[in-house]
Point group: C2
Chain length 251, copies 2
């Protein structure tokens, strides 16, 4: 099952995201849980065991409750993911960089988003079909836009620049986490895998037919100890992102 956000009824989801007091019931027995406790339990599971391990049954078990109980707090799993994402956004650090040069400000934003995905690897995997328009997401948007304010960009350019920067960080985290997830799933470390795959691949791969790929692939493999080094890709990429934005900002 691919995991979405933004699937359910917008009004209900928004009321939930903003913790609308009018949405809590006035009758019936005392509630044994809270929306926040459900979100917290789900987040803990996703963080510790990955998104595939996040099941309604597991969340319920962690809370000492039967699965169907969760459905009185949350309409379904999609909305729970929305709530988790918004809560994660709300918990992000927001360093005040007023007055600093724009490169430093954007680097801070990038690093803070990277930290988000480090603290919540699952967040890089949920596909935000429609963004969760809760207080966490809006507050994040406001803060991040403020680092681009006053640079002479149009409103549309500000949005485009921010989207561009954030998608880079997100993509980097996604790739990094996919690598980590496959490591966990295959019970074969990266070096072990390459040790097995390398000799076999050599039987099929003709260096004369793929000269550049052989050369560059070997160089990259030797340098990274694998096919991909997320840390290096982040540092390299962030420099490119800032240089790319510079031609727009400093024109």
């Amino acid at each position: 099952m691919t995991q979405f956000t933004g699937a359910g009824d917008p009004a209900r989801t928004l009321a939930l995201l903003w913790r609308d007091p009018a949405a809590v019931p006035r009758r019936g027995p005392q509630r044994s849980l809270t929306v926040d406790s459900v979100v917290a339990a789900a987040t803990a599971i996703a963080r510790e065991h990955g998104l595939p391990a996040l099941t309604m049954r597991r969340v319920a078990e962690a809370l000492g409750v039967v699965p169907m109980t969760l459905y009185t707090y949350v309409p379904g799993k999609a909305e729970l993911l929305d709530l988790m994402l918004d809560a994660a956004y709300a918990g992000m650090e927001r360093t005040d960089t007023t007055g600093r040069p724009w490169r430093e400000r954007l680097t801070t934003v990038a690093d803070e988003n990277r930290a988000l995905f480090e603290a919540h690897p699952w967040a890089a995997e949920v596909a935000p079909g429609r963004p969760p328009l809760g207080p966490g997401a809006i507050g994040k948007y406001e803060y991040e836009l403020s680092t681009l304010d006053g640079l002479g960009l149009t409103d549309l350019e500000m949005d485009a620049c921010l989207t561009y920067l954030l998608e880079f960080v997100r993509a980097n985290a996604h790739t990094a986490h996919a690598a980590a997830a496959v490591r966990r799933a295959s019970s074969l470390t990266d070096p072990q895998w390459w040790e097995k795959a390398g000799p076999v691949l050599e039987r099929y791969l003709d260096p004369e037919r793929y000269p550049i790929a052989s050369r560059v692939g070997a160089a990259a493999g030797a340098a990274y100890g694998g096919a991909y080094d997320p840390d290096h890709a982040y540092r390299f990429g962030l420099r490119r992102v800032l240089d790319g934005l510079a031609t727009l900002i400093e024109r």
Copy 2:
């Protein structure tokens, strides 16, 4: 279930990817299918109904066979995804841009990758934990690296530049496709959704508390007719990517 690639036994997977003749059996009854027909049927389902609709049962049904039969052609679903991905790579256009300026060459590579994700939207969703080292992927790598050859970059830089460019295209396609998938799943078009969410959101969102977000969000929403325009993000982003690489290449 999150979809991986590269989960199974490397040797078996590689033999499959390269269509090793030694891997086909010599005994037993005639095989009614081929690996290629399985891959083709699976690809057709993924393309037409999306990755969540790609199930072994459905592939089997399309081939007029019982689910377990597929397992005599393919070790499992993860390997099937590897094969699908490698086949999609193999089918990509590879325009000869020898002698053209590097910006034009890289734009061509980006556009070809974008076309891949347009033809195979599912490909943007599979997480390539470990890349499928088949003829398609290797050929693609060789071709794409050739557009960066002779520019004075080190081998590591060539790999980093290509990775950076491809991750941008991939991330853009992923976001675009997530938006399309949620539209399909929620049975509520984007304008319909905003029409319902807009008034409700206004009740919660205080413009004085989020001045920049309100202003920029409104501008972006009006310009794109939604929160995000993948086409615009691609054109904008590709310019930034090339400008960012320029400071490295033309230093």
